[in-house]
Amino acid sequence: MTWKQVFTSSVGKKLVMGFTGIFLILFLIVHVGLNACIWANDGGEMFNKGAHFMGANWVPRILEIGLFAGLLLHIIQGLLLVFYNRSKRTVGYAINYGNRGSKWYSRSMGLLGTIILLFLILHLANFWLPNRSHQGFLLGEEINLYTTMKDVFSNILVVIVYVFGCISLGYHLAHGFQSAFKTLGIHNKRWHKSISAVGLAFSIIVPLLFAMMPLSFYFGWIN
């Protein structure tokens, strides 16, 4: 039972998805917490301080490499699994079992994930890339991310895309959160019940908070 055998098996691939999924969920908590500083109503002072801590400090910058590694692993393994699983039923049904047997979003993780990936590319191009290139990809001086947010979210189309991205994230989490823990082996009813409840709350609250950010800028709810 070598590591290679483990991680190339169908269960091993799912373990990779589960571990990276939980890692990305933890990242979302950090991301939403820091970004919530925009609602301090201080012209972005607190938010920029938080962004400065994350951007001009070696520790979070090294962790950032780990974040990208986890993200890439989740994306690549996820896409490979979608194609692997699709190939297992060569002739389809005339009538599908559909929503009678499972939730639509639990069957659409590949599609939801792809939408999130496209959103992510736009999101990185909007903020991460301009900021890091301004820093020379090292610890150079950052751009004012608060005013960048203000600029980016003055465009209604961008706001719509962001809200759509957050909705996709919500449904992706609605299945992914509890599924990740099942994949890691949580089978006891009592744990599964509480994890499902926390997962549902998480998949509503976190994407809602994220979606509120572009909306808050666009509708001028913050100064």
Binding site: M1, S10, V11, K13, K14, Y97, G101, S179, K182, G185
Partner: protein, 254 residues
Amino acid sequence: MQHYNMNLTLKVWRQKNKEDKGGFQNYQVKDISSEMSFLEMLDVLNEQLIRDGQDPIAFDHDCREGICGMCSLYINGKPHGDWKANTTCQLHMRAFKDGETIVIEPWRAGAFPVVKDLVVDRSAFDRIIQAGGFISVNTGNAVDGNSLPINKDAADAAFAAAMCIGCGACVAACKNASAMLFLSAKVSHLALLPQGDPERKSRVFNMVAQMDKEGFGACTNTGACEAACPKEISIANIARLNKEYLFASITAEK
């Protein structure tokens, strides 16, 4: 419930052999009793086909009591038909109304190739069992059953998992054609009991490897398998299998 007779249109998948492309064919059946089982209705149709000099429809069946796991059929988009916790042989015609059209398909999965019409080859399940779904016991006198205390909850959970009849409805229902519910039932059944403990690591590893080799998909926890299972095998068994696999891979010697 009041007895009634019905006329039905059947849209049945016909396929001469493995290589044949196959396709749907429509049949009319008349005066079908609501007391009949679904398979008896097909028997009536087959008698009619034989009388007309046509090839009868091939379908799997054996005990017709809902316990052997031989019957299959994907009826109106659901394995074993619309009734919950039920096998095709125990589906009765009172589930249908006069004039209805019923679509009957075989299990669809790359690992379950169609042999003929509605019969699929499910020997992949046998090979998964051969890979580890057993315990090794030396011959000799039978040990006194009471000498091995087993926790009642564990015994009940093992029994619930052992209820699996290996019909393959889970594979048919799963969008990935994954055999994880079947596999997890077999692994859980033995992992929960002391008799299964000595081989638990090699068992889970070998059975998963065999499942992958047979060409089943990977589990994505959608829950369609659990909803379709005639024996209501819990999806919690899949999580237990994942735990067994993770634990076995972490603690493996080499």
